[in-house]
């Protein structure tokens, strides 16, 4: 017989739920609007989504203020955990979503945006990710993860091409497997400690000095598999290139940022305490997978013929690079992770948007895929401005200073150096050199080749509208002038990470 539940509303601290509830409310509203009047234009839904996301961001910033003043917030039976990591991650999630949504306003009409459900699902997905990062309860993380993933599968499928369905099915199936891994891993830890809350698990494990190391390792393996799938560590990465290729360029850019930051948060919460408690195995396993992910993904990106697929592999490589921060596990490295990901968000969203803007409604006969390198040949002649912007994003991705990603890169490498991971730092640095090759390849095509016959440059901006241009403008400004805002951002991130105890 259970004792009757008797809690006061105050102790529930429902305000912690506010950021997640806002997108859910928005999604419901959109559905209601759709039910009450069909065939409304997509701009309406875009603007509604924007509004709710803005509100969401406001709520996140509000809780950031609370955090800065009072420290970590717990709520709803201590299931919600609003600490610095959660806030930073939500800022990235919501911010990137804000930048993504206007990309729906393309010049050509695409299938998914004509459905209001798309926007509702999108908002549900955001709230899923927000739950995922704002909790250290494995149940809630799992629920958030799956909510977001299921919405994402659907969104991908809504692009309504053969490749999109193939991508969605692949993603879905592998996602299901990874859900199995996650639950199995959670089950092992539950069996070991009798808790599904990460800090409890940590406390119990260290109380008995990791006596059951073998079982801890089994659990860790499965968690690593599940999270590795989300952040696309090799060999759990295989979905990424196909899904990126199958979904629209904008969506691919979005996917390279938002789901991964959520997974990184889980990885930080879950793995770092294990590493710090002396689970050397995890350190080695992560070391190996980080290095392999960076390097192998780079090598595969080298040989791609399609720019979007190349960017997919490059995203995998960047994820591996950032995963090193989890391995290093110092305040500096965790701050570097956020810094890197914020800057990466600008750059990568920008470069995918450039692909999006050049997306033709129908694939021309001679072109095997949407964004072949050949398509960009001689772009500087026909569409110089677009070529320069695209080149800018490529240089930033390659880590050429003073563009955005360089700063993230040096801070992260510096954290490796500081923590004594010299070899890792060198590997990370040298991987940038390998990566530079394929980014250069696009630059070579754009700047140094002659244009394809009959290409008047219209193709590069066939999808262009004001809103897309604005997004790209924001992304490029962020990419070029990152250095100016760097100091406040870095201080902000560091204080949040530090005060969260990481």
């Amino acid at each position: 017989m259970l004792a009757p539940v008797n809690v006061s509303l105050d102790s529930l601290n429902l305000v912690t739920l506010a950021p997640m509830l806002i997108p859910i409310l928005g999604a419901l509203l959109i559905l209601i609007v759709e039910v009450s009047k069909a065939n409304l234009h997509k701009t309406l839904y875009v603007m509604l989504s924007l509004l709710f996301l803005a509100l969401d961001l406001g709520a996140v910033l509000e809780s950031a203020g609370v955090f800065a003043a009072n420290g970590t917030l717990l709520g709803v039976f201590d299931v919600m955990l609003i600490d610095g990591l959660a806030i930073l991650a939500q800022i990235i999630i919501v911010g990137a979503s804000l930048l993504f949504i206007p990309l729906a306003l393309t010049h050509s009409r695409f299938h998914e945006f004509s459905y209001p459900e798309f926007f509702a699902l999108f908002l549900f997905m955001i709230s899923g990710f927000q739950f995922m990062v704002a909790s250290d309860n494995l149940i809630l993380i799992f629920v958030g993860l799956e909510t977001a993933s299921l919405a994402l599968y659907t969104i991908i499928a809504m692009h309504n091409r053969d490749k999109s369905f193939e991508a969605a099915v692949k993603y879905f199936t592998m996602g299901a497997l990874s859900a199995g891994f996650f639950s199995f891993g959670a089950m092992v830890f539950y069996a070991l400690t009798g808790s599904v809350e990460i800090n409890q698990i940590s406390a119990v494990l260290s109380a008995n000095h990791y006596a059951d190391m073998g079982y801890v390792l089994v659990g860790t393996v499965f968690m690593l598999g599940a999270i590795g799938f989300k952040v696309s560590l090799i060999p759990f990465h295989t979905w990424a290139p196909d899904v990126y290729e199958g979904s629209s360029a904008a969506m691919a850019g979005y996917m390279s940022i938002v789901p991964k930051i959520a997974a990184f948060i889980v990885a930080i919460r879950f793995f770092e305490f294990l590493i710090h408690s002396g689970v050397v195995w995890l350190e080695i396993a992560l070391y190996a997978s980080v290095v392999i992910t960076m390097t192998a993904a780079n090598m595969w990106a080298l040989v791609q013929n399609d720019v979007k697929r190349m960017l997919a592999y490059s995203s995998i490589s960047h994820a591996g690079f950032v995963m090193a921060a989890v391995l290093i596990g110092t305040t500096q490295s965790n701050s570097a992770l956020f810094l890197y990901w914020m800057l990466f968000a600008f750059t990568n969203l920008g470069s995918f948007s450039m692909l999006w803007i050049s997306r033709q409604k129908h694939l021309p006969e001679h072109q095997p895929s949407d964004h072949t390198y050949d398509k960009f040949a001689g772009m500087i002649k026909t569409s110089p401005m677009a070529a320069v912007v695209m080149g800018l994003f490529m240089l930033s991705l390659a880590g050429i200073p003073p563009f955005a990603l360089f700063w993230g890169k040096i801070y992260l490498i510096s954290s490796a150096v500081t923590a004594g991971y010299t070899i890792l730092a060198l590997i990370m640095a040298l991987n940038s050199a390998i990566a530079a090759y394929y980014y250069l390849k696009l630059i070579v095509y754009m700047f140094m080749k002659e244009p394809v016959m009959g290409n008047d440059g219209q193709v590069y901006i066939s999808n262009s509208t004001i809103s897309l241009q604005v997004i790209i403008g924001i992304a490029s400004i962020g990419t070029i002038f990152a250095i100016i805002a760097l100091n406040p951002i870095l201080e902000f991130i560091t204080s949040f990470v530090y005060n969260s105890g990481y």
Partner: protein, 641 residues
């Protein structure tokens, strides 16, 4: 006096720049005249300086400005006119004045007339820097400057393959020696802390003999190149590709003697290291004989004179090496006069013979070219060392020096060489001017050179005759600076026996040459005569096969090695390994991309495989924990804590 110093130094520069203005324009007679005038101005200034020094005036020393100053190093553009340098200045300006005037006639029909004077004056300027500098660095400027001008002038007729080849050979060979010189300078600087002659020489006695020996050797290597001593001698004969006035000025009178000048200038150093001096003397004696032997059979008028120059340089080095610096300088001066004269005479003959160089194809030229005949004969007499001509005083002195210093082998070599010298000189004279007029076979109508050219040559002629009489004045002057050792054979009888013996020996050699080439009929050798097929003739005519050896065993291997370095090492190893590293990444990517087969089943298998791999890793780890200590050592290397 400083004014005259500047005049002497810079008027050749002005002359050069002035002529350079007109290099792009067709021949302008006045460039030659202006250039000659300016050089004569330098000569006059030098003469005034000479009288100043002779009259017991102070050494003139000026410092124009700083050249290099960094760290402890301080090199000014400093110039000094002392007893030694004024002698050299006189020689240089006098011979160059003559050559300039002469060249107005000699280069009369040449397209590059203006250019020629520009180069020639630039040479004089460089030579003046060389001899007037008060420090080793300035000497080196002049040293390289004359090298450049020599390159320009040997290759003056740049359309001729042989000329440009010879120019490059001369430059590169000189560069080899210059490296030695440069190292010598470094040694001087790091051991004495300065490159100024005065301070450096003052500091030298306190240095260890080892260091001084190295210094002496490296500086002498520099001298060997410029003065074409064995084994760096081959360029001098090839340098005869240049216009003849150039040969007279550069490759006989002035530049090639720079090496001797260096040894004389560095006399405080070489005095401290008699072993090196002995080596220099021995090498000099060897070269004297070696070069003379090649001159015996050569069939190229200019080359014969060039070998003779080489031989005489050997004499000078004997004197310098044995410590008789003033003797060396004296022979240098005397030699400059008669050898320049000889060359200019040869130039007249060449002009007359339409650039024919083989004396066997001449003969009997004394009739159409009387003045030239007289001048060349007298110059040859001087060269042979017949009393009372200049060569007698200077060359016999060297023989005396060697016997007084008890180097009898050197003495006998030099004595024998004196005979050879006389023989080949008069072989040449006999072949050119005596005998039947073989040139008629080739349909040439020789004519005498312009009169002003002959007039221009006359100062040299006079000096070649009377220079010996200046001996005592000269001795008194230069010994203010150089070791004043008087060389007198101990017994008077011995002196007379030696002198007269030498004279008779030389005269016999001349007579033999006349008998063989003037009195008996001469045919143009065609490779069939018995003599031409003798081994020793072949060795001599092929210059002891030295150029061949250089070509086969130095030049060719260098070229082949360069190609190997480029094609095999640079391209196939160094570059290929860089590209190889890049290719490894690319091909690994290409080969492993099949992992992404696109098949969902495979993708799922990879995921499961990943889990299985991690699990096995965990098992391995479990085992490894038992051996943790050893493993930790390895891991710490990777940076894992």
């Amino acid at each position: 006096m400083e004014l005259y110093l500047y005049l002497a130094l810079f008027s050749p520069l002005v002359s050069s720049l002035f002529s350079a203005l007109f290099t792009a324009t067709p021949k302008k007679q006045f460039t030659g005249i202006v250039a000659s005038g300016l050089i004569i101005l330098a000569f006059v200034s030098s003469t005034i300086l000479l009288t100043h020094i002779l009259s017991g005036g102070d050494v003139v020393h000026v410092e124009l400005m700083t050249w290099m100053a960094t760290g402890d190093l301080y090199i000014p553009f400093g110039f000094v006119v002392d007893q030694v340098s004024v002698t050299m200045m006189m020689v240089v300006t006098l011979v160059s004045s003559v050559v300039h005037v002469y060249s107005i006639g000699y280069m009369d029909h040449d397209k590059g007339f203006n250019r020629f004077f520009s180069y020639l004056s630039a040479f004089v300027f460089s030579m003046m820097i060389l001899v007037m500098s008060d420090n080793f660095a300035g000497l080196f400027i002049g040293w390289e400057g004359v090298g450049l001008c020599s390159w320009l002038l040997i290759g003056f007729w740049y359309h001729k393959e042989s000329a440009t080849w010879a120019a490059n050979e001369a430059f590169i060979m000189n560069r080899i020696a210059d490296l030695g010189m440069l190292i010598g300078l470094f040694l001087v600087y790091w051991n004495t802390g300065t490159l100024q002659y005065e301070q450096a020489f003052a500091a030298m006695p306190s240095l260890s003999t080892d260091i001084l020996t190295w210094m002496g050797i490296f500086l002498f290597i520099g001298a060997m190149g410029k003065s074409a001593q064995f084994p760096l001698h081959t360029w001098l004969a090839d340098a005869m590709e240049g216009p003849t006035p150039v040969s007279a000025l550069i490759h006989a009178a002035t530049m090639v003697t720079a090496g001797v000048y260096l040894v004389i200038r560095a006399n405080p150093l070489y005095d401290l290291i008699p072993n090196v001096g002995l080596f220099i003397a021995s090498l000099g004696a060897f070269v004297a004989f070696y070069a003379a032997s090649m001159a015996l059979v050569n069939r190229d008028m200019k080359r014969i004179i060039a070998y003779s120059t080489l031989s005489q340089l050997g004499y000078m080095f004997v004197a310098a090496g044995l410590g008789a610096y003033w003797v060396a300088l004296f022979h240098l001066m005397a030699h400059a006069f008669f050898k320049a004269l000889l060359f200019l005479g040869a130039g007249n003959v060449m002009h007359a013979m339409h650039d024919e160089l083989d004396p066997f194809k001449m003969g009997g030229l004394k009739k159409p070219m009387k003045a030239t005949f007289i001048m060349m004969t007298l110059a040859s007499v001087a060269l042979a060392g017949i009393f009372p001509f200049a060569g007698f005083f200077s060359k016999d002195l060297i023989l005396e020096v060697s016997i007084i210093e008890h180097h009898y082998i050197i003495y006998s070599v030099l004595l024998f060489t004196a005979g050879l010298t006389a023989f080949y000189s008069f072989r040449l004279v006999a072949l050119i001017f005596h005998g039947e007029e073989r040139y008629k076979l080739f349909g040439i109508h020789p004519h005498e050179a312009y009169k002003f050219m002959l007039v221009a040559m006359s100062p040299l002629l006079i000096l070649a005759i009377i220079a010996g009489s200046f001996k005592m004045t000269y001795f008194e002057m230069v010994t203010a600076l150089l070791p004043a050792t008087e060389y007198h054979v101990h017994s008077v009888a011995m002196y007379w026996i030696m002198t007269i013996g030498t004279q008779i020996f030389v005269i016999l050699a001349i007579a033999f040459a006349y008998k063989k080439y003037a009195m008996s009929p001469v045919t143009v050798p065609d490779g069939t005569s018995k003599m031409e097929n003798r081994l020793c003739y072949k060795i001599l005519i092929n210059q002891y096969y030295i150029p061949y050896i250089y070509q086969e065993y130095v030049v060719k291997p260098y070229r082949e090695l360069s190609t190997i370095f480029w094609k095999e090492i640079d391209m196939k190893i160094v570059d290929a390994s860089v590209d190889g590293i890049a290719k490894i990444f690319y091909s690994t990517g290409e080969n492993t991309r099949t992992m992404q087969s696109g098949n969902l089943s495979t993708m799922l298998k990879w995921m499961v495989a990943g889990i299985v791999a991690l699990l096995s890793l965990a098992v391995v780890f479990g085992l490894a924990v038992r051996y943790s200590d050893e493993i930790k050592v390895i891991l710490s290397g990777l940076g894992v804590q």
